[in-house]
Symmetry: C2
Subunit: 472 residues, 2 copies
């Protein structure tokens, strides 16, 4: 909670539709002590501002004013719809491995080691601080199978003020014996315990909520998947898992879960989750690189969501997900995920940039189809509104609307001085690699930010009105 009511002044940019950003200049956004947006006033001069405060019955002394400088703008906080907090120390380390050998070589040993609480605290603190500094105001985290350190992750999110879904990983097969649940029953008991501990931390689920997390079908027995499906139905909690990331993985699922055993509607990977009650409107499916037309239709029918993770899919050579096809032709809600450490970067802005680039590889593969190409605006929609919908918070975050909460970042871009380009004007800190020469339109500034921006451009970050990161 913020100490005071807050009045944000300046330029605001957010997604209006998938393909269109709205630019609100000289605008005032009023945020109450509870972090809720209570008024938005466009073209707000001194007089209009006074009238606005009077209408809200806010006294000047009770209002903290935060002004964006010329050229800066407020943008909604990013939603990272898929990442493994526990894998953060491995970012960038994968050699030439692909999914299944990468899990065994790099991932499982690191995750297992995080049952050490000191190590877990060090890693989880770092990943929260790092992602906040990149403007990630909400994250859907996988932790590990360890209940205590999963709760610690949730605690650290609360103390650092990051909105999060935190999942204790369930897996009773397909991994080393020292890093798996002993049985479906043991997994279910641990899942329940983790849910209880996380709910206990934040009873109204204001900032942090638990999420049911079957790792992925190859790491779960049919019994476990069935019980987690029942748990999802019983609790109404969200679910996160992986689907159709890699071709060997898909073949493995087909072998492990033959249709005759599961009673699934067809032979597909997606149908396995559906057979066990895990494909719900509150389900986040990471990747979906190789989804068939039928699978996409099934996902759309169930209202499940997809987290697109382009950095990871390229780095592990999983494939190029047809995200624009999923969104525009199959009507599936998609967001972006950094998928650390399959993905190498903590930045959702980097995920947006790679989403744009990977969509061009999809287009190239399809003979240059324009309809496969994601625009900068569309990638930013996925990073904000799309992601908010993926995590079930579309009424609260992802844009600037009265009634929504103030999850936002203040973005500043560098300006090249007139004096022979030697000096920058007006910047009192390092503005990174975005160089504005002064003649760029607002859409061009946004494109420059998406292509060359980094955490240096994210000056301040708020969640529910609370300032949770500020660049020094």
């Amino acid at each position: 909670m913020a100490d005071k009511n807050q009045l944000f002044l300046g330029s605001f940019v957010h997604s209006k539709t998938l393909g269109e950003l709205e630019y609100l200049h000289n605008t005032a956004v009023c945020v109450d002590r509870a972090g809720r947006i209570v008024a938005i006033e466009k073209d707000c001069d001194e007089k209009a501002r006074a009238a606005l405060l009077s209408r809200l019955e806010w006294k000047d002394s009770e209002v903290e004013v935060v002004s964006a400088r010329e050229g800066q703008f407020f943008f909604p906080g990013f939603v990272d719809t898929h990442l493994h907090a526990s894998q953060y120390p491995n970012v960038g380390i994968f050699g030439s491995s692909t999914l299944l050998d990468w899990l065994n070589t790099y991932t499982f040993p690191l995750e297992a080691s995080l049952s050490d609480p000191a190590k877990a605290r060090r890693v989880y603190t770092r990943v929260i601080r790092r992602t906040l500094s990149h403007g990630t105001t909400c994250a859907a985290y996988y932790a590990t199978i360890d209940v205590a350190s999963t709760t610690l992750l949730a605690e650290l999110c609360v103390s650092h003020g990051q909105r999060a879904l935190v999942g204790r990983v369930c897996m009773d097969t397909g991994s080393p014996v020292n890093y798996r649940d002993a049985s479906p029953e043991a997994a279910l008991a641990a899942a329940r315990e983790s849910i209880a501990q996380i709910q206990d931390l934040d009873k109204d689920m204001v900032l942090v909520r638990p999420i049911i997390t079957p790792r992925f079908a190859p790491a779960c027995s049919a019994d476990l998947l069935r019980q987690l499906g029942l748990l999802a139905a019983e609790t109404g909690l969200p679910v996160q898992t992986h689907v159709s990331e890699n071709k060997d993985e898909i073949a493995l699922v087909k072998k492990l879960f033959p249709r005759k055993n599961t009673g699934a509607g067809d032979d597909s990977y997606t149908a396995v989750y559906d057979a066990f009650g895990l494909l719900t409107s509150r389900t986040i499916l990471a990747h979906g690189v190789h989804l068939t037309d039928d699978e996409a239709a099934l996902i759309a029918r169930r209202g499940a969501k997809v987290s697109h993770c382009p950095c990871s899919n390229s780095a592990l050579a999983s494939g190029a997900a047809r995200v624009r096809w999923l969104v525009t032709e199959k009507d599936i809600v998609c967001g972006l995920g950094t998928d650390m450490s399959g993905g190498y970067s903590p930045s959702v802005l980097e995920a947006a940039r790679q989403a744009v680039l990977v969509s061009r590889h999809v287009a190239i593969g399809a003979g240059g189809e324009e309809k496969d190409k994601l625009s900068v605006e569309e990638a930013l929609f996925l990073a904000t509104r799309g992601g908010a919908c993926v995590v079930g918070l579309e009424d609260k975050v992802g844009g600037f609307e009265v009634g929504m909460e103030w999850d936002a970042q203040l973005v500043g871009l560098g300006r090249v001085g007139d004096e022979a380009g030697e000096e920058e004007e007006g910047g009192d800190d390092d503005d990174g690699n975005v160089d504005l020469f002064g003649w760029e339109s607002w859409p061009e500034r946004i494109a420059k930010w998406v292509y060359n921006g980094d955490d240096r451009n994210t000056k301040k970050v708020w969640v529910r009105g609370r300032l949770v990161h500020e660049r020094k």
Copy 2:
């Protein structure tokens, strides 16, 4: 020139072969006043260091000692083998355009405007400072058709201390009338004038040299190409141009230069340059995305070089160049190019990262072929030794060897503190997004640098022993 002899101490990392980095720890590298490496001493303790200085007859008072801190390392400066200095203000701005419409919409108008000397100074100064800050010690620049401002670019390279090949762009067709040479003769005269002015600046071509620059076949008449081929033979100067970037471009070349007119060996794009004497061992061909087997064989026979520009090829949806095939199967020397502003980033490290990722898209397209995947080590080879060979400086730069010149960067990576990950140790400035936890091997540290590093990790940059950039 440096004021003093210099002694660099610490860890040094450079490419030994395409696939292998050499790690030299506790090593001393001696650089004389002329910027040349005169001795390299491994495992150099105090006593060995004293003996070394005595052998070189260097008095202590005449030696400046530069020590890498624990965890920092010296790395060869990067060579950017292809970029358009004149397009720098447009980085990140391309919408969903592809090559030919992008040129007309974004590129030609900006380039034409740089005949204004004040604007050219502002832009060129910025691009030199920006690329130096990313560790680019040598760049193969395209300027514009304007002779005076092309010379200004060369002057600014000299004054900022960046090694460069600077090309005045020749083009007498296929662009707006206000931005093309009036005739082949006018183009040739301007090319000769530009060469003379640049050579006059730096008579021994120590730092800067001119490069013959036919923009690309579709922007040049057959007459102009022929005359530039003769100029290359007459002067022995290097040549740079574009080849086989985009399928529409390839079709256009086929239409513009039918074999019966050029007398080329076959119908290919590459054969057009060959027919005009422009395919030499000193030729840098940018892109080569869609080269056929025969074209690659022709390039190899002529000893021409390829500049791989993955950022640009993805952003403009040109395609995914099979760079590992070019290097390992066709024996073509390749380097990396940022290709601003077809490419969005000033960073060769970003080009290396994208080269690794794009190579995975090549592998995906080929059904998951391991042999298409570039490793981190291979990408760094292309960024240094490969690039040096592309620009004809392989005896001078690209690695640490006695007799070579000291073009280098000092790299520092961030460390996560033990105290709950809250604090970083030992860093007195911002180390960017690379987080070392302390247990990483040296190859893992390098991988983390390639995947998450940026200009914040490049602490100092030297060219020919002169300190040309230092992070504040």
